[in-house]
Symmetry: C2
Subunit: 224 residues, 2 copies
């Protein structure tokens, strides 16, 4: 054989793949998932439409990978924030407000990843990512219950409900529209976190303390 993949070529291929994914992510962040179309993404990535198919078997695969990527980042941030907390209740508070903050800093993207209509083929990927995050939250609720801070409950259901509340209140179509202002954003995060903590049974006085504790350190994650 007269041709062999040189290290340099491998690197270029990987870079191109990343560029395509990044282009897809940018498109989604700017105009939602429906803007992630092969031709526009290809243009953004400085590539021909056909080239996209050398890296991803289909559009569904591209989007699935995009969702998985974003969710992986999200999950990592949640874990980092929660693990840094002093106890199970603050860990839960930290997890919740981390989600709130992330979702608010990238509203369009979050909407696309979470809720925007997509092809049936990506539903599975989206579902899996979502379940991972829900399970993480459920685990944190569970820990708080076991520690005696919360009443016994169906933690999976509770976690799902919490995420639904966060998403709807912060990025759904009914969300207030001036959440780009940092002050309002902080208020919204606090209110929603408080709501979420109360929902699972955190007592009010304790909740206030937890919310403040959780939001401040989590803020540093915005840029992550």
């Amino acid at each position: 054989m007269v041709y062999r993949r040189t290290h340099q070529v491998v690197k270029r291929l990987a870079a191109r793949r990343s560029a395509i994914l990044a282009a897809a992510r940018d498109a989604a962040a700017e105009a939602g998932m429906s803007a992630v179309q092969i031709a526009p993404v290809a243009v953004r990535a400085n590539v021909a439409a056909g080239t996209v198919y050398r890296y991803f078997p289909s559009k569904a695969d591209l989007i699935s990978e995009l969702i998985a990527d974003v969710s992986r980042d999200e999950l990592a941030a949640i874990r980092r924030a929660a693990d840094a907390a002093p106890g199970p209740s603050s860990a839960l508070a930290a997890a919740v407000s981390t989600v709130a903050i992330h979702v608010l800093s990238q509203r369009k993207l979050a909407w696309g990843i979470l809720a925007e209509p997509v092809d049936v083929d990506v539903a599975a990927s989206r579902l899996a990512s979502r379940r991972e995050i829900a399970d993480e939250i459920a685990g944190r609720i569970d820990a708080a219950v076991k520690a005696g801070h919360l009443p016994a409950q169906d933690t999976r259901l509770a976690a799902t409900a919490l995420l639904g509340a966060l998403h709807e209140a912060l990025v759904g179509p009914l969300a207030p529209d001036n959440l780009d202002d940092p002050a309002r954003m902080r208020d919204a995060v606090q209110m929603v976190t408080l709501l979420a903590l109360r929902a699972v049974g955190v007592m009010d006085a304790r909740a206030r303390g937890l919310v403040v504790q959780a939001v401040l350190p989590a803020k540093t994650l915005v840029g992550a």
Copy 2:
């Protein structure tokens, strides 16, 4: 002029219009909003595709009207349930569990109306309907706050969050999958309602009483 719309004709036209809307509703209830396509809906309604356009200027208009219809029914049910309650807190509980029950009895339809991807042109209609329901819930929260049963809070945000929690926990992709069983369904409604009431600050002991009170009468609304 040699032609004039007789009363009989007017009635037939109205019936046909309803038939088309009903066909659309059935399609949505069976297979989601994406199944609401002109040709299949026309077949269901025993009408030709072109005829649909004699009654609705475009598919977006058809879907908008469908959403408005369903939401109107929903809003009426919520009001009925809440107005029948003895006080503001039970009214809120009744409203919340009514939404939960309705949504559960027509999961596919609810998903389509609430969250499934739709054309941009219907987003406005969906948003308006949704806002009406959110405002109704917000009003009920407000009443409970004014009565001193709940702490002061941003009621719009709280209402939005509550609806998000309900929807996600009951009809979203992460919802448990055996909610067709009446017993499990009742359990789910109770748990979600409890979660929602706690979120806005109802104290636990009182919440349990409210939940039981609210769910029982609301059940009779399922068939409405």
